[in-house]
């Protein structure tokens, strides 16, 4: 008799989901599925709205990563305007995006995942959270709070408010950077670099304690996809898409936003509201690929920030090819935080950063626009079509978490096969299956454009469909 385990809700992620683990007749894990159980349908209700509203409208998809949606939406609208935005506006958007990445990565690593690393995967769940971290490792908790606060303050000072600012607009940004805000950010950067370097040093002495998790946390060959600059540097705002394989061999590169449909197709699974994009040239489901910090470090040749470059050199030693274990998303995230501080400093020291020429004005000159940028969790794509009055007639959003959907499913199946034994769910095993998902830092509100809470349910299901055991946890 085969059986099923259900984890519902998945905890310490953004949104609501459940995991089902299917057992075979021998009581061994046959498969595992990650279901996203919320739906909102943002793409549909964008229809009929003026394209000028799209940055502000789509930013409402999420309270965690609204800046990412602002970026992709504004870039799609730039295409509809058919303008090249002022260079200063592009630099300011870059800084804002990096502020978002720093605060989001800090949230993911310190608030959501570091309790697993510091308190142990088998620690009681009531301790394995940020409050437990504050009690046992207050310096680490303070570091996380400092980094997240910095990123949020960058957003607030530049764009007016931390959540859902309207500063990024089609054609550029709403206002120039003030000297006071530039000086404030420059003054904070040394402390930020000091903190993240301290955390990186700690992390590098710690992750070796997790050899088993590294081995079984979504550690498999796949493609990796991310933006790179024209000269092959790490890129979060512009550039073109590159796809590499498990050997870090380039499979495709120079993919323009407008060409994405030649390379990415979307499959809809019957048991989840989360779309399953795949690399079109390899088909479904073989065209599985990963995006996000791990993918970005795998696809880029260089990083363009001296301290982060040293860390990237060390990171590369993890593998001769692409770094395959999703456990190392954590490491990549920390390196990107360091990169973010260095890159913001470089941009703030540009002589034109205070220029008042920050917006290009035009009406709709094209009927279609695609915008791509790198959100904290990976490549984000907005594609709009408009009528001659500039009203949206069709919209497609492909979100980072969606890109990772197939990889997350394969990853939890791998972890479940290793950690789940018998027909009862043990807490340590449950947490490890969930922790695989947390490596990807999924934002399900974004990826389904969904509404509502998101706890996690885990179910153990027999071959006849009978639920043998289940654990439902509130957040």
């Amino acid at each position: 008799m085969s059986r099923t385990i259900l984890i519902d809700p998945v905890t310490r992620i953004e949104g609501h989901s459940k995991i089902t683990i299917y057992l075979n007749d021998a009581g061994e894990v046959r498969d595992a599925r990650f279901h996203v159980t919320q739906f909102r349908g943002f793409e549909k209700f964008c229809e009929g709205r003026p394209y000028t509203e799209m940055p502000a409208l789509t930013a409402r998809t999420c309270g965690i990563c609204p800046i990412s949606h602002l970026m992709a939406a504004a870039k799609a609208c730039d295409e509809i305007l058919a303008v090249r935005i002022p260079e200063t506006a592009a630099m300011l958007r870059r800084i804002l995006n990096l502020g978002q990445i720093i605060q989001s990565h800090a949230l993911s690593f310190f608030h959501l995942s570091s309790p697993d690393l510091l308190l142990g995967m088998d620690a009681p769940p009531e301790q394995r959270n940020i409050l437990g971290l504050a009690a046992s490792h207050p310096e680490m908790a303070r570091d996380g709070i400092w980094l997240r606060k910095f990123g949020q303050q960058v957003i607030e000072k530049m764009a007016g408010k931390r959540i859902h600012p309207a500063w990024v607009v089609p054609g550029g940004v709403g206002s120039p950077l003030s000297p006071e805000t530039r000086d404030w950010m420059l003054g904070q950067i040394p402390e930020g670099i000091k903190i993240i370097q301290r955390v990186l040093e700690w992390y590098k002495t710690t992750y070796s304690q997790f050899t088993e998790e590294i081995e079984y946390f979504a550690n498999f060959p796949s493609l990796f996809m991310g933006l790179v600059s024209d000269d092959d540097y790490l890129e979060h705002y512009d550039g073109t898409l590159r796809v590499v394989d498990e050997r870090r061999k380039v499979v495709a590169e120079g993919i323009l936003p407008s060409e994405y449909q030649d390379y990415i197709s979307e499959y809809v699974e019957p048991d989840s509201y989360l779309k399953s994009p795949y690399y079109k040239l390899m088909g479904y489901p073989e065209g599985i690929y990963r995006v996000g910090p791990l993918a970005r470090l795998n696809v880029a040749d260089r990083i363009g920030a001296p301290l982060a470059a040293v860390e990237l050199f060390t990171f590369r030693k993890l593998s001769k090819g692409s770094v395959l274990s999703s456990f190392h998303y954590h490491y990549a995230r920390l390196i990107e935080i360091l990169y973010g501080f260095e890159r913001i400093e470089q941009l703030l020291n540009d002589p034109d950063i205070l220029s008042e020429h920050v917006r290009a004005h035009a009406g709709p000159n094209r009927g279609e626009g695609v915008g791509m940028s790198e959100a904290p969790r990976g490549m984000l794509l907005h594609h709009y079509k408009v009528d001659r009055n500039g009203l949206i007639t069709w919209a497609n959003l492909i979100i980072a978490t969606g890109h990772n959907n197939l990889a997350m499913n394969r990853g939890i199946a791998q972890a479940a096969k290793h950690y789940v034994k018998g027909d009862k769910i043990k807490e340590g095993a449950l947490n490890r299956v969930e922790a695989v998902i947390r490596c990807y830092d999924p934002c399900l509100s974004c990826s389904t454009h969904a509404f509502g809470e998101m706890p996690l349910l885990l179910q153990l299901v027999a071959p006849d469909g009978k639920v043998l055991d289940e654990t439902a946890r509130a957040i």
């Binding site: 310490r12 953004e14 309270g63 965690i64 949230l107 993911s108 608030h111 959501l112 769940p125 009531e126 959270n129 940020i130 409050l131 504050a134 009690a135 207050p138 908790a141 303070r142 996380g144 709070i145 997240r148 606060k149 949020q152 959540i163 957040i475």
Partner: protein, 165 residues
């Protein structure tokens, strides 16, 4: 951030008023609306913070003050304004959603703060998308403002609980 030493404290205690909730969702926006009102009063030693949700990093801001007053909407069917002392809580925290009591605890554990807290909850009836407050919530706004004025002006809090039907 260094914890505040006693000698740094003002003769009049500093007070942080945190109004939290979504301004887009009817009565849920009453906390932010009241915090905005407090900000406009420019009371000495009083700072107002308007936020969508309570974040872990709010603990740092709390630790900078001697006292904190949280203002929230209560959809639980209450019929009166409640003003209660805030106890430290050990509930589990979400990444971007904390309880007032957990934040008070974090302020002490992370920053050595001795901040004391109050929680004012205002009866609410509607958290749907709406630009205005329900009559029930509207009824209590003036009472909440008067209560806050009193709490912020007192050197030592004497009111343990206020019920105003």
């Amino acid at each position: 951030m260094k914890p505040r030493a006693q000698s740094e404290k003002h003769a009049h205690p500093t007070t942080l008023v945190i109004g939290y909730g979504s301004a887009l969702r009817g009565d849920d926006g009453v906390g932010p609306a009241i915090a905005e009102w407090v900000e406009q009063q420019n009371w000495p030693g009083v700072t107002a913070l308007v936020i969508h949700q309570l974040f872990p990093e709010t603990a740092e801001e709390i630790a900078r003050h001697d006292r904190v007053i949280f203002v929230d909407a209560d959809l639980g069917g209450s019929t009166s304004l409640v003003n209660q002392p805030l106890e430290e809580a050990s509930d589990r925290l979400m990444a971007h959603r904390c309880s007032p009591g957990a934040l008070l605890r974090m302020a002490r554990e992370l920053y050595g703060a001795q901040t004391i807290g109050r929680l004012i909850t205002i009866p609410a009836r509607n958290f749907d998308i709406a630009p205005e407050f329900s009559p029930k919530t509207q009824h209590f706004i003036g009472k909440a403002q008067a209560l806050l004025e009193k709490l912020c002006s007192e050197n030592e809090w004497k009111i343990e609980c206020t019920n105003s039907a």
